[in-house]
Each structure stands twice: as C-alpha cells, then as structure tokens.
Symmetry: C2
Subunit: 387 residues, 2 copies
C-alpha cells in the first residue's frame, strides 16, 4: 500500500451564502485546494465529490461529472460518494484507496451542501431524516434532533451528568469559532445565555445544536513519495477507518455507546500505529453537543461517562489535555453536510502546518477526526500526521 | 497493486416488481451473491452500493448503511456510490481499489433501482434528466431520449447509416433476452415490428429505447490470491477505466464520438495488457440502440461509422465476430439504473464461467463492459478474464 499525503486544501466560508449554488461551492473550494497544492489541471486522474442531499435540495445528479467539467479536469474519473453527514469522510477514504492502490496519482476530494435556500419549514430536517429507519423510526415522526434529545437524557441519567457540562461544549466551540474566519458563527455565547435558550428537543437547547449551513471544502491528495514536489508541508493520511452499526437505534445494546466509532477509530489507530494518547488535536462531529461528549469517550480520550465533565473542566480547550474542535466544530463552523468531513481534515491540516492562527494548537503533529453518518450507524475516522 | 477477483454474483429478475422496494432488491441480490461466493457474514469489511435516484424515487439516504444492517454485515464499512446510470461501474471500480490497495479483503458490491412504482407521467424521465446541464440543456426541456434522437440523426447523416441497421441492434438484444431468465422482456421483436413502432424521439422509435425497470445486482470481490478458497471458477478483474467528457453535449467536437469511452476503455485495455481483438464478449450500454452502435466503435471493435452496419450484418450476434449484449442488454434485460453496471459484469462472469445456458458465447475467456453515465460524460469500462 502506497503512503498518501494531502498537499493542498481549500474552503469557502460556511454560512448562509445566498449568492452561491451547490456547484459554485464545489468549484470555489476545489480551485482553492488546487491552487494551494501547486498542481496543474492535467495532473488529476480522479475526483471524489461528497454531498448528502443534492437530489432533494438541489435537483441535481451527476455532480462529480459536472465538477470535472466546470473546473476543467476532464477526462479525470469522477464519482459522487454518499454516506449521509459522513459523506466527506467516505470520499477521503475512497480517494485514499485510489492512491494507495497505485491506480491514481493525483486526486481531488470536494464536498459541499447548499441548504439555506430552502424556505419551507421543516423541509431540510425532513430531508436529513431520510437517513433514519423508515418503518421503525421515520414514520413515527422522529428526526435527528429528537434522537439527540433522547440520547442526551439517557447519557445524563446513566452517568449523572449535569446539562451545563454538555452545553459547555457548545460554548467552547463558539469561542473557538471566533478565531476561524471560515466559520458560520463568529460570536461568543456564554454558558448562561446557552442555558437560557429555547428547548428544541428536550433537554437539548438552541445552542446545543449546529446550524443549517451552506459551504464547500476540498483537498488534493497524492502519493507521499511525490508530495514534496508540490508542497513544503504535506500532511500524511496514516490511518483510515469506517464502521457501521444498527440502523434502528433501539436495537443497540447501549445507546450511549458509539460502537461504530470505537471500531473505526481503532482501525485508524492500528493502521497508523498510534494510540489515543498520541493525538494532539481532534475534530469531532458535534452536530449536537452531546455527540462531542460521547465521541470524545469512544474515540479513546476519556472514560465512558466522563467526556462532558472533561469538556466542562477545560480539558478539551485549545491548550488543554486534548484540544477538540479548535475550528469551532459543526456548532460554530457550521455543518454543510457533504463538506463537514473534509472541513474537519482541513482544520487538522492547518493545525499540523502551524497555520491555524489564533486557534493554533501548539506543536500539533497528529490529529484524528470523527465524521458521524446516520445517527451513528456509519462513522469514519481519518488520522493525519506531519510528514 | 493486488490482483482482484469476483467470487460470487447474484441478481433479482429485472422488470416491474410491484411487491419489492429498493431495499428488497438490494438485499435479494446481495444475499444471492454472498451465497454464490461461499463466504460468511463476518468475512466482509466493506460494501459499495450503487443507485442513481434513491432520494427522488425512494425518499431514502444512507442506503449502504441500511444494507449493512439488513443483511447482517455490520460493522463492515458502507458507502453509496453515485455516477448516474454508470453508478454500478463506479461502485465496482471503488471496490477494486479497496481490495487492490490492501485495505479490504472481502467486499460486497450491490446496485439497484426501484422505478416502476412511480405513476406520475414524466416523473422518472425528469428525475433521470437531472444529470443533464441545468442551464444549457435541462431548462430547455431536453431529456435523455431527446438527446439520443438527435444523436441518432447526426450519426445517420454523417455515416450514411440506415435506420434499420440501428434498430437491428434492438431486435438482436430482444432475441438474446429470450434466453435470459433475469430479463425484463423475454419476447422476440421482428425488425418489421420495431420499424413500425411509434416514434418517441425522432428518429428513435419505441423499440429502440430501453424500458424503465426495477432490479438489483450484486457481486462479491476479494484478492485473487485467496479466490480459489471460496470458488472453483473465480473471474479476474484485470482492467478498470473511467473517464469524463463535457457536461454540455454541444461543446463536444463531434457528438458521434464518445471520447470518454475511447479513453476509459483504453485505460482498461492497458491495465489488462489486452487489445479489442482479444475480447470474446462485451456488454455495452444500449439504453438507446444508437448507443450500442457508437460504443461498439469507440471501444475498438469497429471503425467509426461501421458499428450499426456490423450489427445489421450479424457480427455482434452470439457466434458472430464479437458478441455484444448476449444478456439482452439494457433493451431486453432492462435498465434499473444503479444495477446496470453490475448486471453487465455479472453477465460476463456467467459467460466466462460457461454458465450462460442457451445464450453462451463459446469458449469466452475475456469480456469488457461500457457503463454509460450522464449522456456520455462519465463512462466506466471493466475488463474481466478467466482466472
């Protein structure tokens, strides 16, 4: 298996981008990544595009082929990878395989979602809820926020966790987002304000939940052996993992355990010959504050039941024991579904290149992600290291 | 790069399957392929699912994760691959990379489309037309059949081709389909009848166009070095190619040339160290009869302009110079979009295993496919050989 490197990254700002459509977001982020990688159009032999809901929200199919045309990468192969909100992670994984196998020498990975143009109330939430189990869950009206509410309650009861510990995660991520120019939100939110915000899915409140965002994120990957020809500071992808869990959440032995994350992060650690203690910075999938708490446990940073408290005590701050979501996470950076898994790795690339500005984690050499698809039934972890 | 083999295949019957939904089709074909491969559930580390329009036609996302759950392959990684009507080919390509890289040791590839339950006139054609260029083509009301009509006319005029030569392709494929128990249509259609059928997109007539079908197709792939542990007659995937062309058809230098096919088939031939003359049997993408004619040229079997005449003269019959679509092709086997690229390779596997019954191509050792995405702007070729 050939070693694989990331030699260029690019993002649009995330947020409500009224003047841009899905293809604009894919093109802008891709061209930035290509520019950052010092590659030429003719270098590329494959493109992987991540997007969750292009049919429903944008009335488009064939978006990977369309991107190849728009940014002049024809005749590069082009595929669209779907894995719900973990589509970005899956696209990176498949690009990794394409290069590791020796079949491809230069691959563009781009992810985007255009969501904020939909004005029908509940339409976007319903589109995302198509990932739940139809007969066991969806027809009963369940949505992802309602699952997150139930999970929050179960976690609080099982581990004697205070709601403010969980909400402190959102407060931290808002604070980190202040220093991320690409973030959807750049505003501080106090714990008091967050705890006084409206309940959305009891006990989850407004500030515990990520926004609906537009945005694009892209990266260029190639064999490690040629990476320094293009870039002074390549970042190696040394671990890749992905695992599934039951579709029906009720069927899990313990809903406060993300078994798919335990498995896929272990795959990534094993491939990279690393342990959780070796990780300097992590980007986790805080679509809901409770997820960051639980993920920080199942990815190996804290014992079960201790993730929320650890965050409340500052252990996951920049400068803490294990900084989580220095980018602001899905909470503050925003969550354009198909872009998220790629944006997570881009933040790690910036951290490992020492280019993260005021949100820099000092001397970060190793990072890992959790990109969460479905409601935890398909999770991807990518582990990256300085070259 | 590790060599890759196909050790099991399975299909549902294609057609109007009123009592089955999308997941039923994926499950049935997958379980048949797994049974055929003598593998156990716990052997699998990845699943690739191909489907073009699950959001629009089936209101589902996360279908790959759902399949992992339904057929008990958890915690295998699961991704949904989209490349329009070439989604099946793309899924096989990515499974090939996963194994070739050394990352995966047993992969299920499954493709399906559930289409015939939609009763709104034009809805399915419109859903498929989301793959055309929105501003340059789609808003003007163009659909894939209308493109095929224009292409047929351009080809007839450029190369002095008679309509009956083109329609003879559909007649041949209907005849082949008679002997395929999985085919949507098992009925003979005479040239006279086909030429008297209603015009759909001038000059294309009813029998020149594939039906709208339901169906599923699946295969199991693993490293060639272990294939004989599972199966006496593995089939090797020795060539894989994929290429893009302009999204806007008007921008092509010559619309009667499928440049993406020339490129991707050459990639497959080069990888396999084969030439068109080495191929014993081919499965091409005859969504419209004109496509089989042009594809048979651009994949290297006939000179430009001679494909339709060659078919009329019997060169592409079973027993002819190069048998094309012994399965009945998209015309008679049917065209459940996401399943098609996989069904093409399954037919080749059956031919190479000498299991094709009355439609057997004698002593077939090498086969190739053309799986056509968009309107020729993203094409995949898979080349297979007896082990």
């Amino acid at each position: 298996m050939r070693d694989v490197a990331i030699i260029g990254v690019g993002m649009t700002k995330f947020g409500k981008l009224s003047d841009k459509d899905l293809m604009d977001l894919l093109c802008e982020s891709s061209l930035k990544a290509i520019h950052d990688s010092n590659t030429a159009e003719s270098d590329f032999d494959a493109i992987y595009v991540a997007c969750m809901c292009a049919e429903t929200l944008n009335h488009m199919t064939g978006i990977a082929s369309a991107l190849a045309d728009r940014i002049n990468l024809i005749p590069a192969a082009a595929d669209h990878i779907k894995n719900g909100p973990a589509s970005g992670g899956s696209a990176i994984k498949n690009a990794f395989y394409a290069i590791a196998s020796g079949a491809c020498d230069m691959v563009l990975v781009a992810g985007a979602e255009k969501m904020t143009h939909i004005s029908t109330p509940g339409f976007v939430t319903s589109a995302v809820a198509t990932i739940t189990h139809h007969t066991a869950e969806r027809i009963h009206g369940v949505s992802l926020p309602s699952f997150a509410g139930l999970l929050t309650r179960a976690y609080m009861e099982k581990y004697n966790v205070l709601k403010e510990w969980i909400t402190s995660i959102a407060v931290k991520n808002h604070r980190n987002g202040l220093n991320n120019p690409y973030a959807h939100f750049q505003k501080e939110v106090t714990l008091e304000k967050a705890l006084a915000s409206p309940i959305i899915a009891d006990p989850l409140q407004l500030y515990d939940i990520c926004p609906i965002s537009d945005g694009g994120a892209a990266m260029v990957m190639c064999p490690a052996e040629v990476a320094k020809k293009y870039c002074d500071t390549p970042v190696l992808v040394t671990g890749v993992g992905q695992a599934t869990d039951t579709h029906i959440i009720y069927e899990r032995e313990d809903i406060t355990v993300l078994k798919a994350l335990q498995i896929c992060s272990q795959q990534a650690y094993t491939m990279a010959k690393k342990n959780p203690e070796d990780i300097d910075v992590a980007e986790l999938h805080d679509a809901f504050a409770i997820l960051e708490a639980i993920e920080s446990e199942d990815i190996g940073f804290f014992k079960k039941g201790e993730g929320a408290k650890a965050a409340y005590e500052g252990l996951t701050e920049i400068g803490g024991k294990i900084p989580i979501n220095p980018s602001g996470g899905l909470k503050a950076r925003g969550h354009p579904l198909g872009a998220t898994g790629i944006a997570q790795v881009i933040e790690l690339v910036w951290q490992l290149r020492n280019e993260a500005g005021k949100r820099q984690v000092e001397n970060a050499k190793t990072g890992i992600t959790c990109n969460f698809g479905g409601f935890g039934n398909n999770i991807v972890s990518i582990l990256v290291e300085r070259m």
